[in-house]
Amino acid sequence: MRWLLLKDLQILRRSPLVAALLVAYPVVIGILIGFALSGDEGKPRVAFLNEVAEGESFNAGTEGGEFGAEQARDQLCDRVDCLDVSSRAEAESLVRDGEVLGALILPEDLLDRLASLTSLNPEQPTVEVLVNEDDPVKAQLVDDRISALITEANLILSQRISQQAAGYIDLLIDGGTFSVPFLESSIEILGLNAAGEILSAVSAELPPTEREELERVIQFAQEAEENLEFALPLLGAVASPIAVEKDVISGGSTSLDAFAIAIAATVTLMFVTVLLVAGSLALEREENAFTRVTRSAVGAGGLLLEKLALGVVASVTVTLVMLGVLTPFVSIAWERIGLIALAILGGGAAFAAFGAAIGSAAREVRASSLLAFMVSLPVAFLSLVPSGTVSGGVFDALKIFRALFPFDPSLDAMTSALDSSASGIGLPLLHLVGVVIAYTVLARLALRRFA
């Protein structure tokens, strides 16, 4: 069998285009994925135009402090990569050219409107968002990002206004100094507490007939004070009505980088291995060598095993090259090389068996390449559909469908190997063993009518 394997490697070496593709493909994929993952730390770029006058701010109360355009920018740019622009035209141009995901414009009257929220004549503040929705996926992404940012900004403002309202209630209960913004002066507030004490002192000096009326006022002051104290925690709850407690009940907490690398590695593994093995097996027939080889001591089973070995050799080489190319761009857990090797071997063997089944069914190199593409691409696409994006019934059907092909367990194994926080590798490897056996049996059956 090893002589057949050496023969295939010799043939590969003498097929410059195929050999170049086998080397170039993982290198190109590695560089592309590397740039994509290391470019901007995953933050989308957003143009930021501030039309609020410099230095102007909104007093969000004693605990909220000043809130101006600078604070707004800090809040925003913590979540996205901000690109400051000086005019609306520049913002529009960047959005139109696709340089940025969207543009956020803080209008000139934003702070006045924010300040009005704590007055008797509130006006709703508005920010302007420019987006380019020529791509539905991008449009959905922009909508989600902007909605999240605005929700967060609303929550912050709500908290600050609640804090200010709580401060007013404190002032009403305990008394103190209140500064009036537009009058630039302060007034002393007595407070319900002090008012009650004064009234109690006055009440002791009054005749019983007049005291009764005053006692009712004192009683009101005490009840108002107690009830207003109850309002303080209520205001806090209104500011943050829902708290989130996240529990992961399925799957590990895989990092996005590790998942992206795992997808790139699995897709590379899939295309190289399936196409190579399917084409190589079909070539045995096109060269008329199949019957002569299988008539020898090697037999059809030996030839099939040799093709699986060829697929595994190609898988290991190509995937390691790709991960090596990725290393300067992103952190790869090379200390987990044992698990990575297991994932590549398992995935490589499964894709090789799948390729052998395709090659033995198609029987011609061109037909097998076409069939490999036509089957592999939709399977990979359907394997990446996340739960919750389709109905439960459809997702259950998808789970059964993708379990029949090597892509899903290979991706799971690769993700587990690359990321220690992902779920274990045992189950995906076991799944891959089943896939290898199933497709090897199918390929062996198809070889009966191969010659």
Partner: protein
């Protein structure tokens, strides 16, 4: 069956006894029996679909007969109709690979012997894809001879070759027979069957309708009125309803 009554030669290297084979409901071979002696050149001829290639594939061990038996004490070399070679490998690499797959005891000497026999030593390093059709067929045959078989099976060996290449091919095959190799070949070129075959086996609709020499076939159709072998062959088949 016409011609010489088939009797197993005293030193038969292959004996075929009542072999039958069917593709589904269609019988491809029916009750085929013959034997061959060392150095004999046996031509298997017949119309398209007569069962020639099926018979050779059974003799080569590629198919198992549905009935009957094939007895070959020694090794059998098989050469398919179309060159079964890896075109990206060189002549020597092809020979070496198949020598290993055939589990030859001494791979180097087997390859050397074949390079000499095919007179392709000077082109040993050339990729097969760069060889002419004739030379590719010589390598194809050489691979069938790697294990020094007692019987060599050639399926339409001269197909696609020009007259000069055909002449050189038969010169090579005759040389093998002279050295004691039994050669059983199928052909559509009746001239090749008449000229090079010591014996003819005529198959029609899966039956062995003649086993003898070309002279005996001529004699079997005296009314054919011609010395032309092809005319005699056609007349013979017509007489027997094929």
């Amino acid at each position: 069956m016409s011609g010489t009554t088939p009797q197993a030669p005293a030193t038969a290297v292959i004996e075929v006894s009542a072999v039958g084979y069917a593709f589904g409901d269609r019988a491809a071979l029916r009750d085929i029996s013959f034997s061959a002696a060392p150095g004999e050149l046996l031509a298997v001829i017949g119309p398209n679909g007569a069962g020639k290639t099926t018979l050779l594939s059974i003799l080569a061990g590629i198919r198992d007969p549905d009935s009957g038996s094939v007895s070959v004490p020694g090794k059998v070399g098989w050469v398919p109709q179309q060159a079964a070679l890896y075109r990206r490998l060189t002549v020597e690499e092809n020979l070496r690979l198949f020598a290993r797959l055939e589990e030859c005891a001494d791979v180097d000497s087997a390859v050397d012997r074949m390079l000499d026999q095919t007179r392709l030593r000077e082109r040993r390093g050339d990729q097969v894809a760069t060889l002419s059709g004739g030379n590719q067929q010589r390598v194809n045959i050489a691979i069938g001879l790697l294990s020094a078989p007692a019987v060599l099976l050639l399926d339409e060996p001269s197909t696609g070759l020009d007259p000069r290449q055909r002449e050189r091919l038969w010169e090579f095959v005759n040389g093998l027979a002279d050295e004691g190799t039994t050669v059983i070949y199928t052909t559509h070129h009746l001239v090749e069957a008449e000229r090079y075959g010591n014996r003819l086996l005529v198959l029609a609709d899966g039956e062995n309708v003649f086993d003898g020499t070309s002279a005996e076939l001529h004699a079997a159709v005296p009314d054919a009125g011609s010395h032309d072998f092809e005319a005699a062959f056609v007349a013979f088949l017509r007489e027997r309803g094929h």
